[in-house]
Symmetry: C2
Subunit: 226 residues, 2 copies
């Protein structure tokens, strides 16, 4: 569903008045690609990388000039993928850091899969921009993991109060902004009134992709809901 929402964001963020003004999109959705988190955490030996490379190469052959991946955990493989496919791959992690840095944010909270959190892909990049980060404690992380893998991926409803509790904990630790660093969590922001104080990494990825390939509508230039 994150892929469908990413397509929607690309379309609605594009400044276009006719079909013909929209950018060209080649999309391969291979849900059979092995779970990224399980591999990163060492729970599975099935790496998703080779299928990601195959997919990237197919898209290149179709004519794609830039790749974008609406799965943040998969960014763990960003550099290898880019090298192997030989096309620029949008970097949602880097773009998020730039976006926060531009707004003068110094301290954030991260909501993501365990794969993203444990591999420290966000923490390391953010540090490079002088931004420190908070992650949920073990019990709170379990709530987020359940929401991603049970509620959202299975198409169930989400207990928005529990979600708010985890965010609030990060704010109490000093986070000025909570980043939604998993595209499944972006679906929560889309479908529920979660309030302000968030930065949705998929929105950042979509806006930057539109900027590179087309024209971004003015109203999407600021993405942090403060």
């Amino acid at each position: 569903m994150a892929t469908a929402y990413f397509m929607q964001l690309l379309t609605q963020m594009s400044e276009a008045r006719t079909d013909q003004e929209h950018m060209e999109i080649y999309m391969i959705s291979k849900p059979s690609i092995p779970d990224r988190t399980n591999y990163i955490l060492g729970k599975s030996v099935q790496s998703p990388l080779s299928e990601m490379i195959w997919t990237g190469k197919q898209l290149k052959q179709l004519g794609a000039g830039i790749l974008a991946i609406p799965c943040i955990t998969a960014h763990f493989f960003h550099d290898e993928l880019q090298d192997e496919v030989g096309l620029p791959v949008m970097n949602a992690v880097e773009e998020t850091a730039v976006c926060l840095w531009n707004r003068g944010i110094k301290h954030v909270g991260i909501l993501a899969t365990e794969g993203t959190i444990q591999s420290q892909i966000f923490q390391r990049v953010l540090e490079g921009y002088g931004i420190s980060s908070e992650i949920p404690d073990k019990e709170m992380q379990q709530i987020i993991t359940d929401m991603i893998y049970h509620d959202i991926k299975e198409g169930k409803t989400v207990d928005i109060e529990r979600f708010g509790r985890v965010s609030a904990e990060l704010n109490e630790k000093g986070a000025q902004v909570v980043i939604l660093a998993c595209t499944e969590l972006s679906l929560i922001k889309k479908d529920f009134p979660i309030g302000t104080g968030y930065l949705d990494v998929m929105e950042v990825l979509a806006a930057k992709t539109v900027q590179k390939c087309g024209r971004l509508r003015a109203e999407y230039r600021k993405l942090i809901t403060l």
Copy 2:
């Protein structure tokens, strides 16, 4: 935007509990393909067919076993496309007729682009199932054309009262059900409370595609909102 919504429908209609249970989707969105209605009405000599065939062949090469086109007007080229690509192409027009026939509907109204209306692709297929049809008069058709080409494709809001007036006119002429026979009109049903008495052709296309490639969730077996 219709393509993004079609992707969303495929996902939400699929009976799946993990990413890995979803079907594989290859998608090419080429908004540069010449406008179908302009060609069908003779307002343009640029046929979209050759680019549609190219696109279909690319999808076949990627591994697609079935093609589905979330543009109803493009169904004008259905048979030629199927022959040239050499893959089965889902037929949203035929599937809609079957769906209406199964429910015992005898008389429908058609809301669509002028290309779809004038080429009689729906009227002819429906007749084969013993279903007669009503189309909007000239002035009412202009309202629908404006909604499709100006409001929806440009991402503007829709005057839902005017939309209701056109539907009501078809009901007054005897239509038991009004079919939304343009995927841009499906977006109106998605975003506005248009009430009951409609059959959304894109929903039919999505449900039938899921049935062929995966498992359809039980709640999507009945699509006419009577």
